[in-house]
């Protein structure tokens, strides 16, 4: 088959249009992807250790977390449902999620679906002034305790 000059130029025209459109689409996709995002939340100071009795589980304002204390020490349960991220609320002795009804024990273990994973734990530490803080950007295992 012989390619005429006219066909060649037509193909060239359409070809460059397609390439340019593809490039534009790729640039748009990249444009939509942000280069700067909200930083992870930092540590939140939550008072001195003796404000929390052994056996207590206290809601911490502005941290989306609960501070617990048992015989071994302090721990923090993150109040973000492991299903799709709603905030479960402490109801009697269980965490109940308002979105699709997952339930967790006081320790954050799953009692009923749809969630399949226990609530995450955040790092609890003590700063130079002896105050406790919770750092949600640092996840720790369920065994973690800050010794009292």
């Amino acid at each position: 088959m012989k390619l005429t000059r006219r066909d060649f130029l037509t193909n060239l025209g359409f070809g460059s249009f397609l390439v340019a459109s593809g490039a534009l689409a790729a640039m748009l996709a990249r444009f939509l992807t942000p280069n700067v995002v909200t930083p992870a939340p930092g540590p939140v100071e939550i008072g001195s250790p003796d404000e929390y009795a052994v056996g207590s589980l206290t809601h911490i304002e502005n941290a989306r977390a609960y501070l617990g204390r048992d015989e071994r020490g302090f721990y923090a349960i993150i109040a973000i449902c492991t299903h799709l991220g709603c905030t479960p609320r402490l109801d009697a002795d269980e965490f109940v999620c308002p979105c699709h009804g997952s339930r967790f024990t006081r320790d954050g273990k799953v009692i009923s679906a749809p969630a399949t994973r226990a609530l995450d734990r955040a790092f609890v530490g003590r700063n130079a002034n002896g105050k406790l803080f919770v750092d949600r950007s640092r996840r720790v295992s369920g065994d973690y305790r800050l010794l009292a």
Binding site: P34, E61, H83, L84, C86, C99, H100, P114
Partner: protein, 344 residues
Amino acid sequence: MSLWRKEKSIIYALHPEKIPASGARLTYTFGLGGIAVLASLITLLTGVALTFYYVPTPSDAHNSILLIQDVVSFGALMRGLHYWGAQWMVVAVTLHLARVVFTGGYRPPREFNWLIGVALLVITLVWDFTGYVLRWDDGAYWAFLVGTNLLREIPAFGETIYRAIVGDVQIGANALLRFYGWHIFGLTVAGVFGVVYHLWRLRKDGGISRPLLDENETREFISRDELFFREFILSALISAALVFLTLIFPAPIGVVANLDAGVTDVRAPWIFLWVQNLLRVIPPLWAGIIAPMFVLALIIALPFLDRRGPGRAIWFARERWKPQVILAVIALVLIVLSVVEAVR
């Protein structure tokens, strides 16, 4: 000199000279496509008005809506018409889709217009959802949170898609601004283009579908003037009904969202109640991504299950049972799931 010349008016340009009486009969289309056009126009105009007061930032969004609602003159009416116009649009578009299936209006050469229609359905739903988010009240916030977190369940590309849509690693100011942009501009451009294309294509496909004639029958027509008159009356009635609806039931708004405090009960917007129900029982990827995609794919495929043969442009023709049964089953399942979720 006269400024008004009927034959040069836009009404003439937008309507064919005459259309078959069968297609113009109210009991054939129930005017549902037309109602969708009207509802989208009302929603569009009142939406423009709302942009003059609405502030798309997490700190001010909710307050600016309260301002529109309680302080701005006729603000509650504008917002109410916008809200109810949008709800009617969803209802009209859905019923219009059902009408097209049950009368076989999708038959060739109209199957391409069916596909444009499906795109309009998706645009309508996303439009509705992005608008809901702008309220930034309790209900909207949790729906936004769950809806966007669902994107993360998509294998391999989830996080990338999440960031491209949300514009961040969590929902907040960036996400609200983006959804505002999509709602008032991106989807509006796509929607207006889609509706114009749909109506242009309707004319190119020979107008609204009509039954085949028997030997001895002649086709009856109605004139452009008659068509416009009927449209006018229907539009006036629907508009009046919308205003009354708005006066009796103001558009809802909840308390401002608070992530920290756990709430007792969260309810998805009514169009997605069925998804919320599924999310309780099956894994998120299946309930929130695969199931809706599957329903959409089934809907796209409907016209291709029945392309020729008798039964054209007749309500509930038995010959075309396949698409009708499938749509009825889809509708039944979605309605049952939604009702169960709504009353729980």
